[in-house]
Structures are given as structure tokens and as C-alpha cells.
Amino acid sequence: MSRREEPSLMRRVFRLPESRARARRALDDELRFHLEGRIDELVAQGMSRHDAETEARRRFGDIESHRTATLAIDDQIIQEHRRMEFLGTLGRELRHAARSLARSRGFTTAAIVTLGLGIGAATAIFTMLDAVVLRPLAYPEADRLVELTSPVPKFKGDTLWGLARHEAYYFKDSSRVIEDIGVYQNTEVTVGGDGGDRPAERARAVQASAGLFRVLGITPLIGRNILLDDNRLDPPTALVLGYGYWQRRFGGDPSVVGRTIDIDGFPMTVVGVLPASAQLPDLQVDVWYPANTYPEQPAYNNHTWGAIARLRPGFTAADAQRELAPLTARLPDLFPTAEPPQFVEHTGFYTQVRPLRDVVVGEVMTRALWILFGSVLVVLFIAAANLSSLFLVRLDARRREIAVRAALGADRAHLGAQLLAESVLVALGAGLLGVVLAAVGLRVLLAIAPTSLPRLNEVHLGAAGIAFAAGGSLVVALVLGLLPLFGSSLLDLTLLRDGARGATMSRRRHVVRAALVVSQVALSLVLITAAGLMVRSFRNLRSVQPGFSADGVLAMTIAVPAQQYGRDYGKTSAFYEQLISRVEQLPGVVVAGVSEKIPLRGSNLCTGVNIQVPDSNDLVGDCPSTSLISPGYFEAMGIRIAGDPLTWSGMNQHDGRMIVSGAFADLHHWTTRDAIGHGMNFQGRDSWYRVSGVAGDVLADGFDKPPVSLVYFPMLPIAGGRLWGVPTEMNLVVRTKSGNAMALAPAITRIVSELEPAAATANATLMNTLVAKSMARRTFTMMLLGIAAAMALLLSVVGLYGVLSYVVGQRRGEIAIRMALGAQVAQVGRMVVGQSVRLAGLGVAIGVVAALASMHVLQSLLFGVKPTDPLLLGLSALLLIAVAVAAGWLPARRAASIDPAEALRSE
């Protein structure tokens, strides 16, 4: 008797009951055998048949319950067998696949690297998209947060004003949709030195209402939040530290709570420290202090407050918008002093509600990330297409092995499992490689990404990214593994018989591969065109004349303490004059000046002015953006000026000169000559300034925005022409001869502290850096699209090359015959290259159509170029054709070097 522990395959297949029905029949046979055997035995002992049956049943017990119990065990056996068999098959196929992949190391490496690159790129961009666009903001129930703003369409197109403080209380009390509203203003403050090793410094500050903490769901780490009673005090006395600043400035010392700190010359007491997560949307806040706002406060027309509201559960921003329309319309009735009917009439003022996330991320950024994600998916598709082409070739090479397996009884599912096992292993390797590449790539991306991109600090390769990589790999594995099964007669046994090349099948596969290459070329063309459009936009933007010259210019913020300087124009102006003359003596400095605002940084709030038309009594009102400047600012910033500039002697003698920008002059339909001589004053003041010059337009909001309408006043006002506040914070602008303007910053800081120990310097930056930052999002998008396009192009070339090499290999015999019949080497080469170009040409044609149809999605990211730019499309097409020639060249040489005699002999 043989003692085999494991039943053999044959036994499992033919002998063992493997279905429930069969198991049931077998058990019944077994039980019947038992009972009949017993009965026969009893009859043989002399019982009557009837008694024997009764006795046998008695001895057996309850047949039905024993049968049921045994069947239950049989079911378990069947299930175990099935599981083992499945695992066995899977393990066998995986082992087989692993061995066969290990044998062809080149194929395996190429496949894993190609696909890994695609998956890595897609995972990296998906992670960014997920963190920036898809995920809710990092606040509790963030989807209930909205931003409230006041558009003023009749006043200035797309300008958004903030809320006035009284509106926040009014809306909160009257609305059923809004649960709570917080208001805030961003600002910068000087944190006083402690006389020791911590000098005075500038810090990013937010003045906030108590409501803001409730709305954002901020709980303090130590101490308390700002409360309504804090908001009643003017000047404020309570100070809350942000986590980062607490760590940086105070070394995370908890005893800082209760300490008094000098803020802009006012003593404030630290009442709390916030956790690291407590931030304004996309703004790292150093210190928080109470805004002066409370319900009984008189209403002011001061629409400068940022407002964030929390909606009651179940309501949307649109609900709030609808509800606030009639409430806003009642403002002139309720607050006639703050928002008189003329004001509403003149501005077209209303209240706009947008989901906070949309505001933070922005439409352009959302679009850019989706476009980038689409691009990397295209790259992934191209990589997968290459791979599936490789798999098809491999399949051709192995068709005999497969035919043998089919002949031996392997069914389609079995062969499918085998093919799938290989692609699963490759995809697994590629997925792992992809995750590693994505982690590295993200690190690089985050290092080079502009800091102005929203929510970058939330980008981490986490569960979502890894799930995406795994899912992507799985889908690719399924497609790669199963694609060859469809439409190909894999089980064609004639292969075995003639052992020939299975011409029909090969041709069909070739068509599949050619189609893959054509689609690769088409998609590459789309990506290259997109990248080209971005590059052209960028070049267009760079070639824009911004109205100032950034090269070699350093800008930095200088703030003098408001306590000592805040009421004294003369003292403040004298400080800056001294500073400028000292800085101009530094080696390499050409000229220096100060300005309240500089291009590409700062807000454009407007100030009401009256304009006096010469030789008449007519007054015209306007609200331009204003800036206080010193003489020398225009020269330092490189802004052209027509007419008379400000001079130190003139300003100090109150000559009343002021400058307007070209855009302001245009707005009033003045020529330069018209402009000069107009009078202007601040609304509510008596003394008049006189326009003495027109400054060139400055693209202060960004190179892709229209020039800002700006008027420049001297920082030292004329008597009776007091400005709205002493400019205790100014931007020093220094033009240097040398390129290395940044090196001047320490020397300038030293001069500042020599002149005024309590003054602070901040934001030292090159104007060129500001220019680069203003284009950073665009540059970033361009760069990533460029990388995606380059990957697509490279992978397409590889695909094209692979197909042509294969074709040349297949047609060796034909080529040999042609050459034997007298075809020239050049003709053979042309044939191969021609085929490459034909494939690419078809792809290009399809790609051009696809590009024309799809490029409009880029519209909002472009500048000075149409999405369907024919030149660019033509160049992309030419590039791809040129690449096709190059891809065909090597295979062509190989074809040309075929020795006809040898090739024909081997046939």
C-alpha cells in the first residue's frame, strides 16, 4: 500500500469529491454500505429481514443528524481544498513568472523603470493635488467656513474690499445661515528688544476679533484666546503668540505667559500661546492681538477687514450669499453715517460669500494642478503603452511555449493567470519604485516650489498617495496582463504545427503596437504644445516692460517706533533723509530713496482725493492708490519721469510738488502736459499739492496685470496738507552698481540701528527676487509641464524605436530579398525611416486635432499667446517628426547592414 501524504493532482481531479453534490452522493453511498452490511450480517445470524433493518437502524442512531454533521465536515474539506488549490496555482504562476522575468533581466529592468517613472510622477502630482485642492482646510469642519468680502463693481472692476466691523456684528445677529463671524487684519509689528540678546524685530501680526478664534475653532495651547473684552480696549493690551514664533523667539518657554512685551511701542501682556495648527488660511502668524471691535462700537465706513464666517450645518456659501443680499441692501437705512445711499449707489457695493477653501487655493492654482495631474496621467499612459508593447513582443517570442501549454489543456483563464502573474510582478516592482520616486520627487518639488503656493506645508506623501500608487499599479497590471488575451488567437494550435511565424497573429499584434505608438505620439504632441504655450507665456511675461528696472536693486522695510515718531512728520522725514544720505555713501550704491509702497509687494487700498482743474473752480473726486515717497525713489527704482521730480530742498521747503502715474493721467484723459499744474488734495484737507511730473506706469500688481493708477505724495507734507498718518514704515530702495546688492543689507541694518536703536529692519530682498516670485506659480506650472512633456517625448521615442526595431527584425527576410534583387542600402534605410515617419505623422495629425480641441483649458494660465497658436503647433509637429526620423535611424542602419545571403540562409 503506497503511503502518499498529499493526494496527487490526478487524484484530486478524478477521485476526490470536490463538489458538494458529489460529496453528498459519496457519503450516502458510504452510509448505505454500512447499513446494508449490518443488515446482511444480522440476517446471516438468523434475524428476519424486517427485524434486522430495525436493529441496524437502532444501532446506528439518528441517521439524519449524523449525516448532517458529517456533511458539514465534508464542506469544510472542500473549501480547504479549493483554497489550497487557488493558492497553489497562484504561487506556482508567480514563481513561474518570477523565474521567467529573472531570465530576461533587460526586459524586466526596462519595464519596471519605465512604469516606475510614470507611477512616480503621477503619485507625486496626485499627492500635491490631494493636499492642496481635494482635502478640506486644516480646521474643524472646514467645509462650513466661508470668506465674506465686498465687491465694488461700479467703482473698480474686480476689486474686493473687506467688511466693515459693524457689518460683521449685524450679519451675525440677523442671519439664520451664519453661525459666527470673525474679522481680522494682517499687519506687521515691531516686537521690542529685551535689552539683551533679542533685538527689536519685525513680526507678522494679525489683529483679530474674539469671533475669529471661535470661527476657526482655535483652542490655545497655554493660557487663553483673545476675548471680546480685549477687543474693547484701545490701544490693545493682550497678546497671543503663534507656536512657531513662541519657539523661535522665546525658546518655547511657557513662563512667557504673563510677561509684558513691547509691540510698536505699546506694552502688551502675553495671555496665551496657540498650537502649531492655529494659523490663518495660508499665513503663518507670529503674534495675534485684539482688533478694536465690539458690538456697540459706532459704525465706520472702513471696509478693510478680512472676514471669515462659520455657516450653520447644512448650509452652503450660496445660501449665505442669497440671505446676505437683502441684509446688505438695508445697510444705508441702518448705518446712514457709515454707508450712505450715495456710497452704495456709487460703488455698487454688495456682500460676496465664497467657500474659504476656494479663496485660499484659488481658481488658477486648482486648474493648474488638475492640468498637471492630467499631464502626468498621460505620461503614465504612454509609459504603460510602451510596456504593453514590450509585453506583446515578449508574447510573440513565447508563443510556442504558450501553444504547448494550451495543447496540454491549460484553458484561457489559466493562461490569463500566467500573463497576469508577470504583469502583476512588474507592476508591483514599478509601484514600489514609483512610491520611492514620488517621495524623492516631492521633496525636490517642495524645495523648488514657490512659497506663494497655497497649502504647501500640508503636502506629504501619505496613505492617499500610496493608495493611489497601488491602485494605479494594479490597473496597469490588469490592462497589461489581459490586453494580449483580447482579440488575439492565443490558443491557436496551428502555431504548434507549422512552427512558423504565425503571420496573422503577428500582424494583428503589430497593428495593436502601431496604434499604441500613434497614440503615444499624439499625446506627446499635446503635452509638448502645452509646455510650449507655457514657455511662450513665460517669455512674453519676462519681456514685458514693468516700468521699473529691477537689476541690482535692493529693497528692505525700515520701521521706526510709532510711539516716538507717530506724530512727527518732520522727525520721521529727517530720519529717512539721514538714512538715505548715509546709505548713498556705501560703496557701490548709486542712489537710494524710500517709498511707502513698492511694486509687486503691498496692497492697493485707495485714498479719496480731490482734483482741482486749473483756471476753474471745478473739483473732481477720485480714489487712487497713493504712496508717500522721498526724492530719489524714482531713480532708485528706475521709474521714468516726465516733468519735475521731487527734490530734497524742494520737499523740505514744502514746495507742494507731487507726481502722478501715467495710468492715473490716462484715467483722467490728461496728456503729460495737461497733468502738470493740476492741484490735488486729500478729501477734507485745505492745502493743495501741485502735480509737477508724470511717472512712467508701473506693473505693480504683476506683469500680467494692468498698470496701477497711482499718485505719489512727498513724505513730508505741506502745511495744512497733512496726510492720513506719519509714514513710520517705509521701503528703502537702493540701486547699486554691482550685482551683489544683497551684501549691503547688514551694513544698512547697522546704519539704521546707529540712527535709531529702536528701529527695525525686515524683508531685505532683491527686486529681481520679487519679480521672480510674482511669476513663481506660472514658472512652477511651466516647469512641471515641461518635465511631463519631456518624459512623454522620451517614452514615445523609445516606443517608436522599439516598434521599428521589431519590424526590421520581422522583415529581415523580405529586406534581404529586396537587397538581393538590387535595392540600394539607402533605399532600405529610407523604407524603415519612412515607416517611422508615417507612424509619427499619423500621431501628429491626431495630436494636432486633440491639441486644438483641448488647449483652451490652459487659457487662464497663458499670457500673450493664443491656446491654438499655429506656430507652436507647427514646431511641436516638426519636433516629433524629427524625433521619428531619429528613432528610425538606428533600426534603418541595422536593416541596411543585413547580409542578404546570410539572412536568406537562416530563413
Binding site: E5, L27, G37, R59, F60, A69, T70, D74, I77
Partner: protein, 114 residues
């Protein structure tokens, strides 16, 4: 003859009895019963139906292997035989049983407390 206590005892030891029986030769279920009856001089009365869940469970555990074959009378029957694992199981159960009976024997043969 069959006191209920015998059955209680049997429930845990049927496995062992069947394994022991099959250690002689491969048998079908009825033959296993007949052997037990013969070897114990019919002192044990087993509810015969309970044998089959027992056999199938031991087959599931890999202690027994089963094949369909023919009896001397030419009838088709399911024959069970011991696997190597079944042999190991048998010797483990036998030594546990012996240990158990020895222990109980020690207790029962001890004299009354002095």
C-alpha cells in the same frame, strides 16, 4: 450493559479507538466497528452513526487518508487508512491515556487517610 457513563467516556476516546483500529490495516467504517466489538468482547456499545463524523473529521485533519475500493464480496466501499500524522497522533493519545489511567489508578489504590 451499556451504562451511560461508558458513552461519556467514549466520546473523547473514540478517536483513539479508531486510530488504534486502523493501525492494523486499512478498513471501511463497518469493519472498524466490527473490530472494536471483537477486540473489546462487545463490552463497548458505540452509536454507530457517530463513527462517520469522527472519521471525516480525522480525514480533514490529515490523520486519515481515504480511498474508494472494493470489499472481498466485490462491493464498493470507502476505505480509511492511517497517515504518518495519524500514527503520531495515535501514539500521543495512547501515552496521554496511559498517563491518565495510571494517575487515576494511583488515586484509587491509595489507602484511606490515617
Amino acid at each position: 450493559m451499556a451504562a451511560p457513563t461508558d458513552r461519556e467516556l467514549l466520546r473523547g476516546t473514540l478517536d483513539m479507538l479508531v486510530l488504534k483500529t486502523l493501525s492494523w490495516a486499512p478498513m471501511h467504517g463497518l469493519a472498524v466497528l466490527r473490530w472494536i466489538e471483537y477486540a473489546t468482547h462487545e463490552r463497548l456499545e458505540i452509536e454507530e452513526g457517530a463513527l462517520y463524523p469522527c472519521l471525516h473529521r480525522m480525514e480533514q485533519r490529515g490523520w486519515l487518508l481515504a480511498d474508494w475500493g472494493y470489499t472481498d464480496q466485490g462491493r464498493k466501499a470507502k476505505f480509511y487508512r492511517l497517515s504518518a500524522a495519524g500514527r503520531r497522533q495515535l501514539s500521543a493519545e495512547v501515552s496521554r491515556w496511559q498517563h491518565y489511567t495510571e494517575t487515576i489508578g494511583l488515586l484509587l489504590s491509595a489507602g484511606p487517610a490515617t
